[in-house]
Symmetry: C2
Subunit: 278 residues, 2 copies
């Protein structure tokens, strides 16, 4: 049977597969199907969140550019990320403190049960502090400061809406140390150009330095998928590729998509996007 | 009404729109619809060929990297390209001879009528020599030699199949001058990985130098879309970005996607593709 995304009114993307799970959690409609081309696929509110076959692109690009660019990333906060892919990638680095705040415990339980290849046991890692709470509320209330804050949330519809507000980015700024960096996804550069544009603007207003990073992810349709990085001090465009490469090799990072060449290529914007965010 | 691609058996991509034209030509099934997000869309044999909204990405990346990297591209052969987007981009350069060989005259007529924004009058340019013929046959028989050969064909199903054969690449090699370069599309790196892999291999066997170039094109689903470049002498990775930039600025090229930064970024491959073509 076919499962379709309903993210865009005039564009339909569907995957044929067998439905393994379908239920409404307290926060969202959840569906897991098993497909030929993408393995198991997680839909939330009819939008593809992650698939076994291409999740690594998104997760690696959300994690390694920040962890390899920051000189000494010891304390990291993840907001969202219930499938466990982000913490799996972070835990490949020698971090000291990792806190994850996920609003919907069901997503974690389902991921552990149906998508264990994504979290790969990361939820049992002793370095992880898992908190079930609203990320926007947590960041307002915590007295902690972090080197990196990684926001791994769905699109700005449903429960994640607050995580795309200027107020939230201001709270993130306050919870970052003096060399701190944040990253979040900002959707398809083509079908959600307004999400990229408005969130880049907000992050640019709050952070001294901001960057747009691109990757092409098969199940996130609509051309390049985008990430916005907000940085207090570190300039991603001025980092030495050689240094990043040395660090990457020293850590013996096993990555399926990421490499230092791709990190720098991902920061090059085509003319249409340079114009969009001008 | 919805029009769906049938290129992939388990993945469906559909666009809502109004059908403007639907007919079987001597070579293929042709459909043109008008959509909200992508403007007018041309389907051949139920596969999206081009859309008004994102055609520039594909056409610019097929043309400008070659024309700016070759020191003096005077004579150019285009195989396919019936919508006129490729010749539109080529004619922005000071070329002396441009020959286009398209198998299906109906596509040219339809493009002129329904998609005039794509060819933008290029079919009337005096520098263009238009030949209606089978490109594989033409290249076997012509005594001419070219600086660049640009193959703008559909996927290796239907009439374009021969244009993906090793024999064809050998014929292309023979029709190129000593610094000659060819380029062709090789489909989605994810859903048509076999097309990329096998054609990269064939071109690598025939040409001393070969390169893979990536771009993300909204209506070509399945992650990065790929191009393979075969070159007799010129190394794309060793070209000076500064030189390319100077040439780009000197020609005052108006491009919507392409810029010299993107040309070099497009040659950086992620680990999964490095592995695929190893």
């Amino acid at each position: 049977m076919w499962c379709y995304e309903t993210l865009h009114s005039d564009v339909k993307f569907g995957l044929k597969g067998k439905i393994l799970y379908k239920k409404k959690t307290a926060h969202q409609n959840c569906l897991i199907s098993k497909t030929k081309d993408f393995g198991k696929v997680l839909f939330l509110d009819n939008v593809i969140q992650t698939t076994e076959a291409d999740e690594y692109i998104y997760h690696e690009m959300l994690v390694h550019p920040l962890l390899l660019t920051h000189p000494n990333p010891e304390s990291i906060l993840v907001i969202g990320g219930g499938d466990g892919g982000v913490i799996r990638e972070i835990l490949k680095h020698p971090v000291k403190e990792l806190i994850m705040v996920e609003i919907d415990k069901t997503i974690i339980d389902l991921s552990k049960k149906y998508l264990p290849k994504i979290s790969k046991g990361s939820f049992s890692d002793k370095r992880l502090g898992l908190i079930i709470d609203d990320g926007a509320k947590y960041i307002q209330e915590t007295p902690k400061k972090f080197d990196l804050i990684i926001v791994d949330s769905p699109d700005p519809v449903g429960p994640a809406k607050m995580l795309f507000s200027k107020k939230f980015y201001q709270d993130v700024y306050k919870r970052l140390k003096s060399s701190g960096i944040m990253i979040r996804q900002t959707g398809s550069t083509f079908l959600q150009a307004n999400v990229l544009k408005s969130n880049y603007r907000k992050i640019k207003d709050v952070f001294p330095l901001s960057f747009i990073q691109l990757a092409s992810i098969p199940t996130y349709t609509g051309g390049y998928f985008s990430f916005v990085i907000g940085s207090k001090k570190i300039n991603f465009l001025k980092k030495s590729k050689k240094q990043i490469k040395q660090k990457y090799l020293k850590l013996k990072l096993k990555t399926k998509y990421y490499n230092p060449g791709i990190q720098f290529a991902a920061l090059q914007l085509p003319n249409n996007l340079l114009r969009l965010v001008k």
